[in-house]
Symmetry: C2
Subunit: 254 residues, 2 copies
């Protein structure tokens, strides 16, 4: 039995998100499970690095599965992509030790949230970024993002109704910048995130960008440990899971 | 009666292209004609700067129409975007003189052709760029593109079966560059283009990028005045009409 780690890119627009759901909505996990069943010739259980919501995209989602089929690990992307739909494609595959776990072993995840400034919806951006009608102060947003870096209790950025005991997380990097005129990107890296945390951070940064809040408000919002203190949950379509990293040790066989 | 010039952004993926066609395929011109009829309250004839094929995108297509309705020119984007589909949205509108013509008055058009390098299809790029499996020599492509600038007979880059007497066109700029790792863009500006010319140039540049042809071959291919000498017509999805320019005089009322 071999354990294989996949890297997957997907456009989340026409999916219900990562996780398989009863009732037949198309999920990334479901499509991968079906494709792997066809390629491996036996039922396969797919374990992702974590869920993404419907509409959220991924450049580098990861997932592992076990198989005893004869397909060489490096051939899985080619074999799977033949049977996967156009909006979900495997970019890489490698064999990992049997103890490797796509979720438990994560050392860092990096997300990107994209905003675009336009008075009118832009068809070439609107599936991938949130429309904002007036200019954003990206410098102020970047100053606010700096308060997020480090070990904090992110209870203010936890979706209501989710059950997590420990809301302390460590963010290793967070920045806001303008990659092109009229576009603003928020990028954040950390070992783990609360459910909807990046989207609530993105919604809060939006208030700073619109100068409804000063950058320092981010510090106070964190300290409040109250979901009511933060901004709205920004739309799913602006979010992308850019990459998932693992420590080198996780890949060592022996 | 007022003449209004619109600037339109669209995702060409799920359209048959700019031009209305018998048989009900969804076209950009058709959607605009329908939307303008609803907004103006009378039938409207929409004249574009030129056609784009199905699958081709536009950041700044232009089109004019005449109306005597009471909608102020600057309100047309808002009024039209309410009734237009998500993949076609008007970005700007202005009143122009009655003699203005969206096609005949064009002083410059700028197109972009995008390639991406990847062994596997990339869902977040594949609607907007052509997948190339191995690295491209963007410097060589840029050197080849330089031969296109100036006044030339572009008969080698004319789609077979099209009837045009004069195949001489003037290109004012052409360059190839890497805007991000793994992406190559070809941008070209000129006063007018032959049907499929940019896509045939893009297919020919691909041969240079793959080092199947040296950059100087572009000069010989132009001189050959023979469609057989050039490369294949590159896929529509990689092409985008970036902008359409007019001389300032065209906007003068007097």
């Amino acid at each position: 039995m071999k354990r294989i780690l996949l890297t997957i890119e997907y456009n989340g627009k026409n999916t219900c998100g990562w996780q398989m759901q009863a009732g037949g909505l198309r999920s990334v996990q479901g499509e991968l499970t079906r494709a792997l069943g066809e390629v491996c010739g036996h039922p396969v259980r797919v374990t992702g690095s974590g869920r993404t919501d419907g509409g959220v995209h991924a450049l580098g989602q990861t997932a592992h599965f076990d198989t005893d089929c004869a397909v060489p690990p490096e051939k899985f992307p080619f074999a799977l992509n033949i049977v996967l739909p156009p909006d979900i494609k495997v970019q890489a595959a490698r064999e990992v030790p049997p103890r490797f776990h796509a979720r438990f072993d994560v050392s860092r995840k990096t997300y990107r949230y994209r905003y675009y400034i336009s008075r009118h919806p832009r068809p070439l951006l609107d599936d991938f970024a949130l429309q904002v009608y007036t200019p954003l102060d990206a410098e102020a947003m970047n100053a606010a993002a700096a308060f997020v870096v480090g070990r904090h209790d992110f209870a203010s950025f936890k979706a209501e109704g989710t059950e997590v005991r420990d809301t302390v997380r460590v963010m290793t990097a967070a920045r806001v910048f303008e990659p092109a005129p009229g576009e603003v990107w928020f990028e954040i890296s950390g070992k783990g995130f609360l459910y909807n945390m990046v989207r609530i951070l993105a919604g809060t940064l939006l208030l700073v960008g619109r100068r409804k809040l000063p950058p320092e408000a981010m510090k106070e919002i964190i300290e409040a440990k109250d979901r009511e203190a933060a901004g709205k949950t920004a739309a799913a379509k602006g979010l992308c899971l850019v990459r998932v990293d693992y420590p080198e040790e996780a890949f060592l066989f022996k």
